[in-house]
């Protein structure tokens, strides 16, 4: 018995101190990437990260309750919300939401839609694929007379938030009838659970249109469409077009870095782009721990791009990273002294 106890103690002693591990909770969308980054970073430095992907809402609640070192959310908090809770937020990665269709004879990237027509489809106004509104945008395509089945997310999600934020911005009709949220009162269609649920419904139902995260569209080889952006150009969803939207955005003019990347200017910008945000406390209790947390994020920005691209996420453009580091310098304090110098 004593021997056993001694052995157990020995094993415990050789484990790296668990207290040094960073903790985070929140959005499910960036979870695979955060896990990958944490794994590489631990091998390099011995500092681990325990990230719980419990959803953006949960992440915000946890960071407010100070049970974790950082929270993660797909939808940014406003400046007022940040100030009320004493939080700082910054974008970590960029992602895109991609409308996908299931139409026989239509190749990926062949179908063109404008914001107004996409909103009309989701409002249930445009009911058939050969509707004049769709046909006028696609003169060369043979559109079938099929019913449109709208597919949306059934669960509350950051993806829905970005998508409805876009429709809300570009369509007065959508703004009046539905609005923007993680879960809305969908006027039409069926709901799939998670990105995989929407992807599965779109693949199964002929004539379906849905929206998924970029990675899911890519991995499931779904038929994406071309969407008209603010500059009036039809663009395809690619890493480059998401980065263009992030780069074209004016971050420095956004109080609290509250910036939604939907409908951004720039010829190459994909209109339904969003960033996934990290939330940390403005006043840190433990300076060393806070420094170690920011070191981790700095490493992700510097060395994590390859891992991000491999998992079909889009790294932040360099000038936005510089801006984020500026926010750390001025915004994150411990006992009055800046944590990040």
């Amino acid at each position: 018995m004593k021997k056993l106890l001694a052995a157990a103690l020995l094993i415990l002693a050789t484990l790296p101190a668990a207290a040094a591990d960073l903790t985070g909770a929140g959005a499910t969308f960036p979870y695979p990437l955060y896990a990958q980054w944490a794994d590489s970073y631990k091998k390099l430095t011995g500092v681990g990260l325990n990230y719980q992907s419990i959803g953006s809402g949960g992440g915000i609640a946890q960071i407010k309750a100070q049970t974790v070192d950082f929270g993660a959310s797909d939808a940014p908090l406003t400046k007022a919300e940040l100030d009320a809770a004493g939080l700082v937020q910054f974008p970590m990665i960029v992602g895109g939401v991609v409308p996908v269709v299931n139409l026989e004879g239509i190749a990926p990237g062949a179908l063109k839609l404008t914001a107004a027509v996409l909103a009309d489809i989701y409002l249930g106004g445009v009911k058939k694929w050969n509707d004049p509104a769709v046909a006028a945008l696609n003169p060369g395509l043979a559109l079938p007379a099929r019913d449109i089945t709208v597919v949306h997310r059934a669960d509350g999600s950051g993806t829905t938030w970005i998508f409805t934020n876009y429709l809300d911005k570009v369509s007065p009709a959508w703004h009046g009838k539905v609005g923007c949220g993680k879960e809305v009162a969908w006027p039409a269609g069926v709901g799939g659970k998670g990105n995989e649920g929407v992807a599965a419904y779109v693949q199964r139902i002929k004539g379906a249109v849905g929206y998924v995260e970029y990675a899911y569209a890519l991995q499931n080889k779904l038929t994406h469409i071309l969407l008209e952006n603010r500059a009036g150009k039809f663009v395809a969803p690619t890493q480059a077009s998401f980065q263009a939207a992030a780069a074209g955005a004016d971050w420095s003019a956004a109080p609290g870095l509250y910036l939604v990347l939907t409908d951004q200017p720039g010829d190459a910008s994909w209109p339904i782009t969003g960033a996934s945000f990290v939330l940390i406390h403005r006043e840190q209790r433990d300076a060393a721990r806070a420094k170690s947390l920011l070191d981790f994020f700095a490493w992700c920005f510097a060395e994590g791009d390859a891992a991000a691209s491999a998992l079909d996420y889009v790294p932040l453009p360099d000038d936005v990273v510089a801006l984020v580091k500026g926010v750390w310098k001025t915004g994150v304090k411990s006992g009055g002294a800046a944590v990040w110098k």
Partner: protein, 321 residues
């Protein structure tokens, strides 16, 4: 001889049992039973407390309003309640007769060489996790419904509003059928056990009077086991009402009430599974908790009604099992 002496040596000890043994056991058992009641009451109280905001804002109209708008904060449970009841009704209507026939076959007709492997297979089916049914439903069964069953129903019964609309494969009917498949093994396996317990002498009396196998099954075996079989149905019903994952995969998840069984819908359990994680707004959260409260009350009402029904059954058909 030695064992005898040993026994007599031990006897005095047995004659004086510890005086507090029985009361202690009785007390512990009562406490365990009481804890169960307490837990049920605590769940109820907690649900009511959690739904205070929603109760105050919508009152009883929560039950019959169809609106479900998290953006404007306008909530009603009608589509969820209707979806729960309709999908359960479809499931029970399909599963109960089928279970009864399978159980009768296994007990009365099948030779042991058939009954044993089939019985084992049914018990195995009961152990399949519900998410497997959900994935199978979405990837295998829904396309089959869309390509074959729904077009067939539309062609033959399309004059009824129940079978109109585009064949999407998912929806209320598909959810009901998946539920039926899920509860079938439960009901069948309990019914089989109940029918097995019908004393042979009762059945033999039936045969002795010249009854056919069908007559004995209908008028003796089933009647004798009526109470136990009602219990089996209740077990299936309980699972169908609260089933979450499998339904969420195939029901289509929207908060609208359609006339057609091909339409997408939702159940209370599926709405909770979908929306709870990201509901940050207090009123939204409260409305979801109230949905849970409604489910709690529905389950309670079903239990109560079934007890009344079973008691009536006993009066007309005798006690039996």
């Amino acid at each position: 001889m030695t064992t005898n002496r040993h026994a007599t040596a031990a006897e005095p000890e047995r004659r004086h049992p510890r005086p507090w043994g029985d009361p202690l056991f009785r007390g512990l058992a009562a406490a365990a039973a009481g804890l169960f009641l307490l837990l049920t009451a605590a769940v109820f109280v907690e649900l009511v407390r959690g739904s205070e905001l929603s109760l105050a804002k919508f009152g009883f109209s929560f039950l019959w309003r169809e609106a479900w708008n998290p953006v404007t904060g306008d909530f009603g449970a009608l589509s969820s309640i209707a979806g729960t009841l309709i999908s359960t009704l479809i499931a029970m209507a399909l599963a109960v007769p089928l279970s009864l026939v399978i159980a009768l076959f296994l007990v009365e007709l099948a030779p042991p060489a058939v009954a044993k492997p089939v019985g084992a297979a049914i018990e195995l089916l009961a152990a399949v996790p519900s998410i497997i049914y959900g994935m199978w439903g979405l990837f295998v069964f829904a396309p089959f419904m869309a390509d074959h069953v729904q077009p067939f129903l539309s062609a033959r019964l399309g004059f009824l509003p129940l079978f109109q609309g585009p064949p999407m494969g998912i929806g209320m009917l598909t959810a009901g059928i998946i539920l039926a498949l899920m509860i079938l093994p439960f009901i069948t396996s309990v019914m089989r056990d109940v029918l097995k317990m019908v004393p042979p002498v009762v059945k033999e009396a039936g045969y002795g009077m010249g009854s056919t196998v069908w007559e004995v099954a209908r008028q003796v075996t089933v009647r004798y086991g009526a109470r136990g079989m009602a219990g089996a149905c209740l077990l299936g019903l309980g699972r169908a009402v609260g089933e979450t994952m499998a339904v969420t995969f195939v029901i289509g998840n929207n908060h609208r009430l359609g006339a057609s069984l091909f339409d997408a819908g939702n159940t209370i359990a599926s709405a909770l599974a979908n929306e709870f994680a990201e509901a940050a707004d207090p009123l939204y959260l409260s409305a979801l908790v109230e949905l849970g409260l409604v489910l709690f009350l529905i389950t309670f009402a079903i239990q109560g009604l079934t007890h009344v029904w079973i008691r009536r059954l006993e009066r007309s058909a005798g006690r039996g099992l």
